[in-house]
């Protein structure tokens, strides 16, 4: 479902050039949850941003749902994959009521019946149609993140890219959001790519994960390897040791 081959992402040119992602290849199957972990600056979020067209200079190939991120139809691509960002306050327009925020992608894509769909989406994420008329500042952090998920789902995508979806939330709210994501994944047959600095979250959510450092993949492993503590690389073992 997600094919990334020899991805390089860099910022700046000449002597100022910083290579944020170096020669990364990842393949994620349909219905799978794949985790990207690593410290800040390791390039994990940059991979998602490159896939969404938010990192302008990259080379290699990214294909999601069979659509090439560079040469494929942009609209079709964005109907296939949507992103949920870390900070739900920064990612929702402060002057749009929730209903507008969720319906906007549908309006842009001329999807009919957007009001009824907005109501259904609100119910799917555990809010009520009455929330359509609220502003983001009237909602709690957890409710805002639910709205961000609803907006991402409004185009009926097959893939969600989640960038630290719960790290701005309290653990009690995190549990609710993670449960919600897993339920939606099952109901809608979604594929997830989740960036997190929290190995416990990744171990809970993802079947496989890549550990990143300095823009490169240090190790790809499955959940069982993570849980048994049999990581091959010392870097990964240090990261696990610091997390428990």
């Amino acid at each position: 479902m997600i094919e990334i081959e020899n991805l390089n992402v860099w910022f700046g040119e000449g002597p100022d050039r910083v290579d944020a992602v170096k020669n990364v290849s990842i393949s994620v199957g349909e219905g799978e949850s794949f985790g990207l972990v690593g410290e800040s600056g390791s390039g994990k979020s940059t991979i998602l941003r490159a896939a969404m067209g938010l990192a302008p200079t990259w080379s290699g190939r990214i294909s999601i749902g069979g659509i090439d991120a560079r040469s494929g139809d942009r609209r079709q691509f964005l109907k296939t994959v949507q992103m949920v960002f870390q900070d739900p306050y920064a990612s929702l327009h402060p002057r749009y009521v929730i209903g507008e925020a969720i319906a906007e992608p549908m309006r842009i894509n001329k999807i009919p019946d957007s009001e009824a769909r907005t109501d259904r989406l609100l119910e799917a994420i555990g809010l009520t149609p009455a929330h359509r008329f609220r502003y983001p500042h009237e909602l709690s952090g957890g409710q805002r993140q639910r709205v961000a998920v609803a907006r991402a789902l409004s185009l009926d995508p097959k893939v969600l890219l989640l960038d630290e979806p719960t790290s701005a939330l309290d653990v009690s709210i995190q549990a609710e959001i993670l449960n919600l994501l897993n339920r939606l994944k099952k109901e809608l047959g979604l594929t997830f790519m989740i960036v997190s600095h929290d190995l416990a979250v990744v171990s809970y959510m993802c079947e496989r994960l890549a550990v990143m450092a300095h823009g490169e993949i240090v190790e790809v492993m499955d959940r069982e390897t993570l849980r048994s503590g049999e990581a091959k690389e010392q870097y990964t073992r240090d990261l696990i040791a610091a997390s428990v």
Partner: protein
């Protein structure tokens, strides 16, 4: 010194609502602190940061604060003249905030900020001596290249390094009490471990008191001696840090249970079922 470093009893902080009434955000908090590491945990909005700020006397002007006792080393924080509080802040009480990006002056070199802090505490220290103290302190918080960092601007250092600079700046005044409000939440786990080691060593060696405010229960139980759990402005539980796993209050238990763990179950996570009874005023749980 006799008695406790910090004594708080029935602390209340309230904010004015639109309709003119006051809503209490801190409702009757009480605890004492000696030369130890005390953790305060709770969710956002539980009043843990406001409690720390009350002790510093740096609440927003709109806050209405009252307490039966709010004392730092015998000084009544509520009635102390502004001059006395100013002297206490910085020299005897230090505070470290979550994000060094916002607590360092962005247009002033790191070294100058530390030197300023040293000389504000003791104007008799000459500039050259203060610079030497600053560089030594940067070294003490394990900054590898202290002279480079001394000359750097805050945006030129990483988050972990910025936080160590903040700690250095607080420690040059050798405070008796350090209030650390989510000091490592913005940092990576490996950097976090290093910053905690530094704090631990300094608390032990300099015999300081530390109030460590955090939403991270696991971290607090490993790092602190004693933990206070806050919910909706009240202390619902006070427990030895090593016994946190066996906490008795259903709120504390609920928080512990809803955290995913690397080796935990893959079933849906238990969510916190908030019992309205937790909101009832307890007059300080024991």
């Amino acid at each position: 010194m006799t008695g406790k470093l910090v004594e708080i009893d029935d602390l209340r902080v309230a904010f004015r609502q639109e309709d003119g009434s006051y809503a209490e955000a801190v409702r009757g908090v009480g605890f004492t602190l000696g030369r130890e590491k005390l953790g305060i945990v709770g969710e956002s909005g539980s009043g843990k940061s406001l409690t720390g700020r009350s002790l510093m006397g740096i609440l927003p002007k709109t806050a209405r604060v009252s307490a039966r006792t709010l004392r730092f080393d015998g000084n009544d924080v509520l009635s102390a003249p502004a001059e006395t509080m100013r002297k206490l802040r910085g020299s005897r009480i230090g505070m470290i905030l979550q994000d060094p990006k916002y607590s360092l002056n962005p247009v002033m070199r790191v070294g100058r900020q530390i030197v300023e802090s040293i000389r504000a505490g003791d104007p008799k220290i000459g500039k050259t001596d203060a610079e030497k103290i600053a560089i030594d302190m940067l070294e003490a918080v394990q900054i590898r290249d202290p002279e480079r960092v001394f000359r750097a601007y805050p945006h030129e250092v990483s988050g972990g390094m910025g936080q160590r600079v903040m700690i250095a700046m607080m420690l040059v005044r050798e405070p008796d009490l350090l209030i650390a409000d989510e000091p490592t939440s913005a940092l990576d786990v490996t950097v976090q471990a290093r910053v905690l080691d530094i704090l631990d060593e300094l608390v032990t060696r300099r015999n300081m008191g530390l109030i460590f405010i955090s939403h991270d229960l696991g971290l607090v139980s490993r790092f602190c001696d004693r933990v206070i759990v806050m919910y909706a402005g009240q202390v619902v539980e006070e427990i030895a840090a090593k016994d946190l796993e066996n906490a008795t209050h259903p709120y504390t238990q609920g928080l512990l249970n809803c955290m995913p763990r690397i080796n935990g179950s893959l079933e849906p996570l238990p969510v916190l079922d908030r019992d309205p009874a937790w909101l009832a005023e307890t007059g300080g749980a024991k």
